[in-house]
Symmetry: D2
Subunit: 108 residues, 4 copies
């Protein structure tokens, strides 16, 4: 897909159904949590996850994330990139290599 | 950013820190849920949400979604697109316009 | 504690702070999800969970559940009991013993 | 119900089905999050929530909380009570009355 194509499609989908009125930032944030839990459920009880279902549930989380980003005029790639820079600074390679320790407990 | 640039950066970030070993699909699914709740917390109690914090928390959810997609060889735009086609079929414009009814309760 | 004592304490805590106005069922449901994710975070990355932290986060989830139950005039033990009866019927011992299969996929 | 009766019933339910092997603390924490999201879904899109469904979903969250408490030998009422004492100290009535401000931002 060319850049921005999925946003154009999402916008048309929502607009045709007159659903923008349901999409307050708060409601979108709730939907992200709800869909994230449906994704997590596929990894419950150690069952091997069905990848077709994972694909659909992950797509749902991503879709609501994009709808929220569009609503707030955030560029998804850009906010991931600027958060990555912050996270890189909080987790210097030297201190965090191979460890899952939270940044506020990392030691020299 | 050119297409794929954020994936290259994420890959380098994880690889430099030797964190791939923590990133099982199940753990990434847990992280998506955890970060989604941190985003939701910004919309708790009707407080006006701080948009800089929203940007960071939404970026965290997106980042873990992309890490899971990369791990499973899914293209994020592509899976959103194919899910959108399914959802469009489940929610025909004529039946669902202006309504938040779930598809299994939509009426003719 | 004698039965009902914790509810009396919760009621006094909320009332003294004039917090009942924040406790719509919807807000309490959000809080339950948010606190559940904080509990889940203690089990992220395979780190051994700190049991004192687990105690506090589990208490937070339980507390919001009780606040919602009190708000809707549900008795927590009673609703667990009646749900347990439904679940027992959906998962007959003979079919479900030792399996994590979802009820709609259980086989004779 | 007499005190402890619901725990006896839960224990019998799990034991008859040989499900204890699935109930690691981590899996129970995941289930709490998953069920919390199902409860939240009932309050999505501003639809009036169906109270019979709320009862069942809230019961599911409570049930997994109790299973985790039982697994870790925590008394549910007792941990709510000791957390309530901590929270009361963090949110003095004088500073927090009528406000939803987080404790680390409360002002004199």
């Amino acid at each position: 897909m060319y850049p921005g194509e999925i946003h154009a499609k999402l916008r048309a989908f929502v607009s045709e159904r007159d659903w923008d009125k349901f999409h307050s930032p708060e409601n979108l944030a709730k939907s992200i949590s709800i869909e994230a839990a449906e994704l997590l459920e596929l990894y419950q009880w150690g069952r091997p996850a069905d990848l077709e279902l994972v694909k659909d549930e992950l797509a749902d989380v991503l879709t609501y994330c994009h709808l929220l980003a569009m609503k707030l005029n955030f560029d998804p790639d850009e906010i991931m990139n600027s958060k990555l820079e912050k996270t890189s600074a909080k987790y210097p390679v030297k201190k965090s290599k191979g460890k899952s320790t939270k940044y506020d407990r990392l030691q020299d």
